[in-house]
Symmetry: C2
Subunit: 652 residues, 2 copies
């Protein structure tokens, strides 16, 4: 998908990739092994971050912590990745956390089924041919007719909505084959995406490496509720690695097998309408939406609306979900995303994770298309309910009712002394059947019992006598209307979950901030915001002359002591070359120390995007840097306030 750079230039992914590799933002893990002779192993989808990538990553994480955890007083946890099978069996991941996979029996390739359909149909559309372009032996390809084109586009718009059998049918009907060799593939099978291992010396206890951080937060719900002294709503948060054994990783950092997640679990009373007390602070914010209906009609048109009106119009289900969508948007902009390349897309029904009842993704536009970077799901009470049931531990909130509640209802009581001898080992089934009766039925049965000697209760399953009903006499069972008073309300909270893929966000932003100087395409720049830039200030002595060293050393230590990340480049290349190198690293500010510094103590300050420079005393420049970093002054203000510098140490 062609995209443009910040300054409207055509975006070239290979050029950006080359820059990121050259400057060691990240690299494929174990690269020296991958290229070694005889190395076999499927280790795609694993990346290491080098020094600038690692700093960018930790700046994004720190800002995430400030923007979400600290700003909202969330309770941060650090939970283990290793998770016993029982936990993930309960949560549904053991049975349902899978992708559909097709095998090519000839090549031995494993292909993710939805990606296979997508790739082949996109290729056919791009080539305007019904057979893959790379199969020259089948060159008598038919031209597309308009109906086929529309059919394909419709399939692609809702590609995430197909399940395995449906994908199998598409592959069959449209004769979709492995692009590598054009062989037929087998029908899709489900492949579980979790990494499995065993724990302890007996090798008998299976564990998984977590596919999300959420489960650890749910399991600690009672302790969290205690910690915040029972006050609802509250949110927990967790930042940590998660693991997914992707079938066939591609797209660099966008689909990896080990990745950093940052997740919030916001616990809320379902009877509060999921209102949010700070909603009014953000309701005016305009967000770009792509809803479910639009997608199902085969379109991808984005509609912009304020989050306030989106919630009022029920496009977004509730205030809490809406609040987080707006906060996510603000966060993405702050760390460097291009506002023109963000949209919020609602999940289709089949696409939602097994635990979710509604979900919106924040997607960022990249050269790979629109990429899901943040999921914001309403997980309802799903997780707390299933874990509570599996462990026998109540994961609920108990609240004193403002006023005691009088409840009048029909209630059946059984005479167990009679029930036992009559039904023997069926007695429990009968008891359960009676407990399951609803209020209407109970009322009718009470009336019946007043008239007849016995009533007949449906048991669902057959009893020992072969019948599916139990006859209960009046002395075995009585049904009365009773009134009780409740002082406490007990409920299972619902959960709203904003879930961030930090690596995907990081890569997408690198695409958003990349451009090159119009006068020289080889002079590339990463216009990262000062907040997330790996290094804030580059220190450049004019040369290796000894007289510059004390100033450089004292500047470095002064900046370090006020917490400003800086780097010194003493290499022997020209100042322009050194600045160019740091433009590629996204370093927003540069200080030059030259012979005038030795004379009068003045230094120059250069701004990355404009390459403009000012000259002033050390104190004034450091003050300006502090202001620029804290956001209390813009570069425009600084450059108007301090004298411009147009001397020797300019960019070349």
């Amino acid at each position: 998908m062609p995209t443009t750079t910040l300054s409207g230039q055509e975006f070239s992914r290979p050029r950006l990739e080359s820059l990121l590799k050259r400057r060691f933002f990240f690299t494929e893990s174990f690269e020296i092994y991958r290229t070694a002779p005889n190395y076999k192993g499927d280790n795609r989808g694993l990346y290491d971050y080098g020094p600038p990538g690692c700093a960018l990553l930790s700046n994004i994480v720190n800002e995430w912590r400030r923007h979400f955890v600290i700003e909202e007083n969330m309770l941060e946890l650090d939970c283990t990745s290793i998770t016993p099978e029982a936990v993930l069996k309960t949560s549904g991941h053991v049975d349902k956390f899978a992708d559909w996979m097709c095998r090519d029996p000839v090549k031995g390739d494993f292909l993710r089924a939805d990606h296979l359909v997508e790739t082949v149909l996109e290729t056919r559309i791009a080539n305007n041919k019904l057979t893959p372009a790379d199969t020259s032996s089948k060159s008598k390809a038919e031209q597309f007719d308009e109906a086929t084109m529309q059919q394909y586009k419709g399939i692609l718009a809702k590609i995430d909505n197909y399940d395995g059998p449906e994908l199998g049918k598409l592959i069959e009907d449209l004769d979709i084959r492995n692009p590598n060799g054009n062989g037929k593939v087998e029908a899709p099978t489900a492949f579980n995406l979790m990494f499995k291992s065993t724990i302890g010396p007996s090798s008998a206890a299976p564990v998984f490496f977590r596919p999300e951080t959420a489960q650890g937060q749910f399991l600690n719900f009672r302790k969290l509720l205690d910690y915040c002294q029972g006050s609802m709503p509250f949110a927990s948060a967790c930042i940590g690695k998660s693991y997914r054994n992707e079938i066939s990783p591609r797209s660099g950092l966008l689909r990896v097998r080990e990745f950093l997640m940052a997740e919030v679990e916001h616990f809320v009373d379902p009877e509060s309408n999921k209102a949010h007390e700070r909603f009014s602070e953000i309701e005016h914010i305009e967000l770009p939406f792509l809803d479910r209906q639009t997608q199902l009609s085969g379109k991808t048109t984005v509609e912009t609306a304020s989050i306030g009106s989106a919630v009022r119009g029920k496009l977004v289900d509730n205030e809490t979900l809406g609040y987080f969508l707006a906060r996510i948007y603000m966060f993405l902009i702050k760390i460097g995303a291009d506002s023109q390349k963000i949209r919020f897309r609602q999940h289709l029904d089949n696409e939602m994770a097994h635990y979710a009842c509604d979900c919106w993704d924040a997607e960022l536009l990249t050269s790979y298309g629109w990429i899901e970077c943040v999921g914001c799901a309403d997980r309802s009470a799903y997780d707390l309910t299933v874990h509570s049931k599996a462990t026998g531990t109540p994961l609920t909130v108990k609240e004193n009712l403002p006023e005691p509640l009088e409840i009048t209802e029909w209630q059946a009581s059984l005479e167990k002394k009679l029930l036992g001898p009559r039904f023997k080992k069926d007695a429990k089934k009968v008891e359960a059947a009676v407990q399951a009766l609803d209020q209407n039925t109970l009322e009718n049965l009470a009336a019946e019992l007043a008239e007849k000697a016995s009533i007949s209760i449906p048991t669902g399953e057959a009893l020992a006598d072969g019948k599916t009903t139990a006859e209960l006499s009046g002395d075995m069972c009585s049904i009365k209307k009773i009134t009780r008073v409740e002082h406490i309300r007990e409920y299972t909270p619902n959960v709203i979950e904003p879930s961030f893929g930090i690596g995907r966000i990081l890569y997408s932003i690198l695409e958003h901030v990349y451009w090159y100087r119009p006068q020289d395409t080889a002079r590339e720049v990463l216009s990262l915001p000062i907040l997330t830039a790996p290094t804030k200030v580059l220190l450049v002595p004019l040369s290796n002359h000894d007289s510059f060293k004390p100033t450089i050393k004292s500047l470095a230590s002064r900046l370090r002591s006020i917490g400003i990340a800086n780097n010194t480049d003493t290499s022997s290349v020209s100042i322009g070359r050194r600045y160019a190198r740091n433009d590629e690293l996204g370093t927003p500010l540069g200080i030059t120390v030259d012979f005038d510094t030795v004379k009068d103590g003045s230094i120059t300050l250069r701004e990355r995007d404009s390459t403009a420079q000012v000259r002033a005393s050390e104190d004034d420049i450091i003050e300006a840097i502090k202001n620029l970093i804290s956001g209390s002054e813009t570069w425009k203000q600084v450059s108007q306030r301090l004298p411009a510098f147009t001397g020797q140490a300019q960019d070349e």
Copy 2:
């Protein structure tokens, strides 16, 4: 082992554990599953950090980053945990990263052999009996004689020095049995400690979850060297989770299966004597040493010496190792360790990891004994050499020599056209044997060849003709003295590795800072330094009265905006109770807002350890807090400068 608290009180581990659980510093992971009926699974050794534990952890990590990475301009990496088998095969972990384990065939227990010996001997010493105290059927236990006591103590002092067969012999000779049931155990077998899984859909590619972060750093050596423009020495660093499948975890946070590590790999020229340019800054620092000789003589006496004299006297091998020991000591003190409970212990020969040539542990004294918290190993050129060999990628430094080097040496050259027909498939072996000859031998052989028609070369292994020498005639082999000029020196760097177990440090420090108020043992305090305390300031309104709310809200937001973590406690209990709760959380400062605040804007500031309070304006108090946090003022100075407060809102 009995230890005392900060204020000399007897330390009680159960009381500290109860506090840490009550305040949710950490908890066993999946606790609601462990206590559920029917749950089977060996998930010991896994812990989650709750909000205060998580904040303490991240404060320690941030200080680590400042103290090591930023201060020394280290190159930080973020590498994957998932590691292909080939990498860990090369590094030696697949074959050697194991503990010795004994199985009790009756109980089905798996026991770590060294821990078994240790536990049983310690119990015998404690009970002054030769059989375990808990085996009442064998009550005719003999008294210890002095010789046995000395033998046991000698074994315990070097328990880390025994290999599997030696441990097996001790178990046999001393009739050491499983304390659980007193059954005999089987001979020790090696149990590999890595978690294994497979990657990709074919399940054919084995991977491990890393047992240390170091390998990722070694594999990126070339990129790191490029990044720092070839300048040596330099260091890389990595903070991240590692995984070890411990046989039988015990001791809470001290022996866990998933843990946070922070590791430095300092790459240094081996011919530089491993000198360190900043050594003079720290050489005066006094460190407590327990060296190898002392331990082998069965003693644990600590000798204090300056690191300068320790390096000069060769107790510590070199300046770089010494520099890091001193920096580690400074770091531990800064984050809250008690200087009286730190020692540096040298590893015994058999105890060292397979890659290390010297190693010192920083150990912290806890109620579990002395605990290894930081390892500081000289890994020599081991890792870079083996990975380079396995991948065919040179992991070396090339340096221009200041002056070209003229090298004169004996060199053998072979006539391969003649060698092949003569030795056939042995030809390569013969070639290798000739290449392996040293200068002395070459010189002698040259003389021999000048006199005789042929020479005889030892081949080590037998050739096809059954002989272990090869006869080479003068036309097959010539040996000459040649002179060549080298302009470049190529070498494999050595690595000094300080490696931190963050969870162990965190727990040990919690023991170090724990005490209780002498007047009331129930009033427990964690005297964490302000630098690492989870929350810096507690905000306490006198009551829930509406007039206090605006001040509390504005103070919270003011503190947050200058990056000071704070928390508000609006619960309805007394101020004293609320302060006591926060003493347990280690919160160093507290602000009270009362009716005088509403009248004159003044607030009180309380210091945790002394419970003393001062009263002043909001601005003055916030100024004081900033100074206390930055370290520019002590509490003593603040309390002398600002008026003391002895009014209503005192501790009770």
